[in-house]
Symmetry: C2
Subunit: 364 residues, 2 copies
């Protein structure tokens, strides 16, 4: 029985679960709107701790800490989708938690998510539930190879998944994955990857940013371009898909829909790859390339405030600074028109997202 | 004997004297660059406290608090120009304080400042030092009326000044001003007010934003427009003036030069009204209307980092939300392309700056 939503006023406090760069940028966006944030994270070096007056450093299973945290907040949100169910339950009993816990149940499980998307009449890659090597064989038979085997839960940035190619040893593949809950997805021969960053308000209105085109390196987002280089009609279709998903979920806040653009003889079509129930790396360009960012839209939504009508300010390129890329920050500081974001993280481990750069070319 | 400047690295800490909206926006800009801030302010309700992990709430005369604060910081700056000399001295002995204290001596005193500007061959309003009603009479004789009498120190937003018109009782004017250190300034028949927001780095380079046009209401800035509606040649001249002033001061950080545009038969000319040795309200548009803001330029400068090359993203209008204007924030939230900034201040007293809105129209 979650407490009723309320409309926040300036000076009220938003609780953020998770202290990484997404939590940090959410807190910075809230600050600009005159709202306070309190961050909950088990990591004492959480980047988000630096930008809030009140932080809670405790485990997600620490019931007392969660209760005290909830008492300090007017509404609670999170920066990551894998919030433990027990954690969400404890918070949910005390304060509104947005997006709603029921949504996490859909998006935390790739199989449930695909079933949900399919039920809306929206295309996905072919897929099959796999819970044994026997089922894996059946699924490969049905979907063909290459295909991608993924754990149903807790995967990100290419972790918990493997490409299966013709001739691969399926017993070995299944052993390596080390789970009983998996999904096999048909390989999609896409020409590009795009995403729609959208926000949905408590009033049910949805605002989509311009469709973003994404390039990955080693399964990690490296570049985003806005707008995506796709026909206007396809971009409109992508936004419709995002709006349909957000509405069907009863979502409140910012979310991302990752899509593949698949070439076809009647023109390109779209299939949904994944839904992220949170602000998303491919929306970082909105910090500097739009009048309202994805972070601010999320804050507005969970505050019960009207969503902004984002205006894109030009042709935008976002470059992620991953691992040692961060060492180039002095060079990036000198690039005309580039806006540099550093997350305040200590050690630049390989694959770690350390910062990003947004370049906006005003359109002429 | 101030400690030598050093080049900060991400994760280092900037100390900010003053906890108002300028300190808050400086801290938010530092956060984006991966730098931490510690705020020192005597006001427990300081808006800047909300956005930093470490704050010092103490009087500016509290030597022990100042010393502890300095020990935590790698470099110290301030959000207001009237830093007490003793405070600056204590800090200066421990950490680099930027901009340098010597600069405050020039800009804290309207007479010293005007002498300085004049010494650079840059125009100002006619002026005369006034320390008695007798000198006031002489000054009025020399400069004519109307003219403006101002305290030499501690004036802002129209406080500590009065217009003198023909027929006014000079004894009364002098009594009302209540100081022995004043300056009479000839009235300037300006056609518009503009300002240049500039930053100077430790390497001596200067970057100016596009000249801003400003409209005041009741002596408080209400609207800024960028670019100013003045000829390009005049705008270039304004930027030259700012660069000359910054260089002559040996300034490090962001500063503002307020100028009057005075019509003349050979075209308009410029006279300097005031120098502000800090980020400035008329530069708030740069938060959303330029690729690098005045706040970030200040942080870069005092960190010993290269200045950004700001690119303006369109035609920009900044509207201050003063006093009860803040009650309109829900309306502003719905204006397409508008970016709303609320400062997290409690009570909307008349004349109190509560927030601002930036509107950017991409140029077509």
């Amino acid at each position: 029985m979650a407490p009723a939503m309320k409309v926040l006023k300036p000076g009220d406090t938003i609780g953020i679960l998770g202290g990484g760069q997404l939590g940090r940028m959410l807190a910075l966006a809230a600050a600009r709107l005159g709202l306070k944030c309190q961050v909950f994270s088990p990591d004492p070096d959480s980047p988000a701790f630096d930008v809030v007056q009140n932080a809670t450093c405790a485990e997600y299973a620490d019931v007392e800490a969660l209760e005290l945290f909830a008492n300090d907040c007017d509404v609670i949100t999170y920066e990551f989708e894998n919030v433990p169910a027990a954690t969400a339950l404890i918070l949910d009993a005390r304060r509104p938690v947005l997006p709603a816990q029921s949504i996490l149940k859909t998006t935390q499980d790739r199989l449930v998510e695909k079933d949900f998307v399919t039920s809306l009449g929206i295309g996905t890659a072919g897929y099959a539930s796999v819970s044994s090597v026997g089922e894996l064989r059946d699924a490969v038979e049905k979907l063909g190879l290459p295909a991608v085997i993924k754990t149903r839960r807790f995967g990100y940035d290419g972790k918990g998944q493997a490409m299966i190619r013709p001739g691969d040893d399926l017993d070995q593949v299944w052993d390596d994955l080390g789970t009983k809950e998996a999904i096999l997805e048909a390989f999609v021969p896409f020409e590009r990857e795009v995403s729609v960053i959208a926000a949905r308000g408590t009033d049910g209105s949805v605002e989509c940013f311009d469709v973003t085109e994404n390039e990955h390196r080693d399964h990690i987002l490296k570049f985003s371009y806005a707008p995506a280089r796709i026909p206007d009609a396809l971009a409109a279709k992508a936004r419709e898909i995002a709006e349909k998903i957000g509405t069907a979920l009863g979502y409140v806040g910012t979310f991302a829909v990752e899509l593949f653009v698949v070439p076809g003889k009647d023109g390109a079509s779209l299939v949904v790859n994944e839904i992220a129930p949170r602000v998303h790396n491919s929306g970082h360009w909105t910090l500097d390339g739009a009048s309202v960012s994805q972070f601010e839209q999320h804050i507005r939504a969970i505050a019960g405030w009207p969503l902004g009508k984002p205006v894109r300010l030009g042709q935008v390129t976002m470059t992620n600074l991953i691992g040692d890329d961060i060492l180039d920050y002095p060079k990036w500081l000198t690039v005309p028109g580039a806006t540099v974001h550093l997350y305040g993280k200590g050690s630049p481990r390989p694959g770690r997202k350390m910062g990003h750069v947004v370049e906006v070319k005003p359109e002429v």
